[in-house]
């Protein structure tokens, strides 16, 4: 049996107690062709350099923890096989995020934006349990289901050039989630959210690069959500002009 193939992983390292700026460190290891990229990173941490820090959890692309830039593209490292990469693999922390250490980025900015869009069902009057369930048809579900599949992996934020440069911009996942609720037939909070969508962090900052949808591992298509949200925000604005009290329906 021939020697297992070797690959060199060039990984960004940053220890805030020691390093002024991030630097790279190369690890040449034998790889099992069945490995995902995450398996290689875990091997490096377990067997070669225990100081390497990275996030991971489910290993099956549902938790959204293991996002990193692999050869310049934001990827879920548990999804990509090492075999799809060449002899040298560059792994850096997700773009557009402040870096806490090594491959671990600060997620709190993302959580802040999330909270702004009020990602919950808003009812004008809360129903009592005695009123029974709210009914929703399969057609109504289809209108927003895709946008509910987000696993908050933040790859879309890494890919978006507007997130890079406009700190206030709500960003793909947050807007997609807000839109998911706006379109949900059970929700009555669209006016509230559309006001948020048109405020600081406006959805209109999106320049339709479509990169968010290109990198999304769950086919949520946040670009569709954001651009649909623009359209809905305009309709909301226009009806607001005609009905000054802002009443919807």
């Amino acid at each position: 049996m021939s020697d297992p193939p070797k690959k060199t992983f060039v990984i960004t390292r940053f220890d805030p107690d020691v390093d002024e700026v991030p630097k790279t460190q190369s690890y040449e290891i034998a790889v099992d062709p069945d490995w995902k990229v995450l398996d290689a990173v875990n091997y490096i941490k377990d067997e070669v350099d225990g100081t390497l820090s990275h996030r991971w959890s489910c290993r099956m692309a549902v938790c959204g923890s293991c996002g990193m830039m692999v050869n310049g593209e934001p990827r879920l490292t548990c999804k990509d096989s090492v075999s799809q990469y060449g002899d040298t693999v560059e792994i850096t922390p997700l773009s557009n995020f402040p870096v806490i250490r090594d491959l671990v980025v600060d997620m709190d900015g993302f959580m802040d934006k999330f909270k702004k869009v009020k990602p919950w069902i808003i009812r004008a009057k809360e129903l009592a349990a005695e009123d029974g369930p709210v009914r929703q048809s399969p057609e109504e579900l289809e209108e927003f289901k895709q946008f509910s599949m987000c696993i908050n992996c933040m790859l879309c934020y890494s890919a978006c050039p507007v997130v890079s440069n406009e700190p206030e911009f709500l960003g793909p996942a947050a807007i997609a989630l807000g839109h998911r609720y706006n379109v949900d037939s059970r929700d009555e909070g669209a006016s509230e959210r559309n006001a948020i969508f048109r405020g600081e962090g406006t959805v209109f900052s999106c320049s339709f690069a479509n990169e968010c949808s290109e990198v999304c591992p769950k086919n949520v298509d946040p670009a569709a959500a954001v651009n649909q949200a623009k359209f809905n925000a305009v309709i909301d604005w226009a009806t607001g002009l005609v009905l000054p009290s802002g009443e919807k329906e």
């Binding site: 557009n96 890919a159 890079s164 700190p167 623009k230």
Partner: protein, 146 residues
């Protein structure tokens, strides 16, 4: 190393307890991979702005009189103008193709009771409109319509 992102990009409202390294832009931005088409798409803005003002000059000349009209026709024959218009024509076609591809998914699932037609139908309608309007405009400008 990738170019730096805005220093405040994705910064939390409440700073963390340790010093963080500043955010960097996606390394493929602006002219590698898919970003190239996107950057070019935005850059066509310069051509659109310019061609709008050139069209303004042409229509203004038409309103001024026959001498002004003859003069603007002559100016448009300058190789620089022709070169600009050739590049702009390519840019306009590029914008159309990219935009028509993205347009269907930007339609909300429903406006009131109305649902938009399926994606491929929308794209077909857009291309049909584009070709139809181009043929009409070209025919008019070539003297075929009076």
């Amino acid at each position: 190393m990738a170019r730096p992102a805005h220093p405040q990009a994705m910064q939390p409202v409440k700073p963390g307890r340790t010093r963080t390294a500043p955010p960097t832009m996606p390394p493929q931005f602006p002219m590698t991979g898919r970003y190239r088409a996107y950057t070019l798409f935005d850059a066509t803005g310069f051509l659109y702005l310019f061609v709008g003002f050139v069209a303004l000059r042409v229509v203004w000349a038409l309103g001024t009189g026959s001498a002004a009209w003859a003069s603007i026709q002559q100016q448009l024959a300058n190789p620089l103008y022709i070169g600009f218009h050739v590049i702009t024509l390519a840019a306009v076609c590029f914008v159309a193709v990219r935009f028509f591809g993205l347009f269907p998914k930007a339609q909300p699932p429903r406006i009131g009771p109305a649902k938009p037609p399926p994606g491929p139908v929308i794209v077909g309608m857009l291309y049909a409109a584009w070709i139809g309007i181009t043929v009409l405009m070209s025919a008019a400008l070539m003297g075929g319509i009076s």
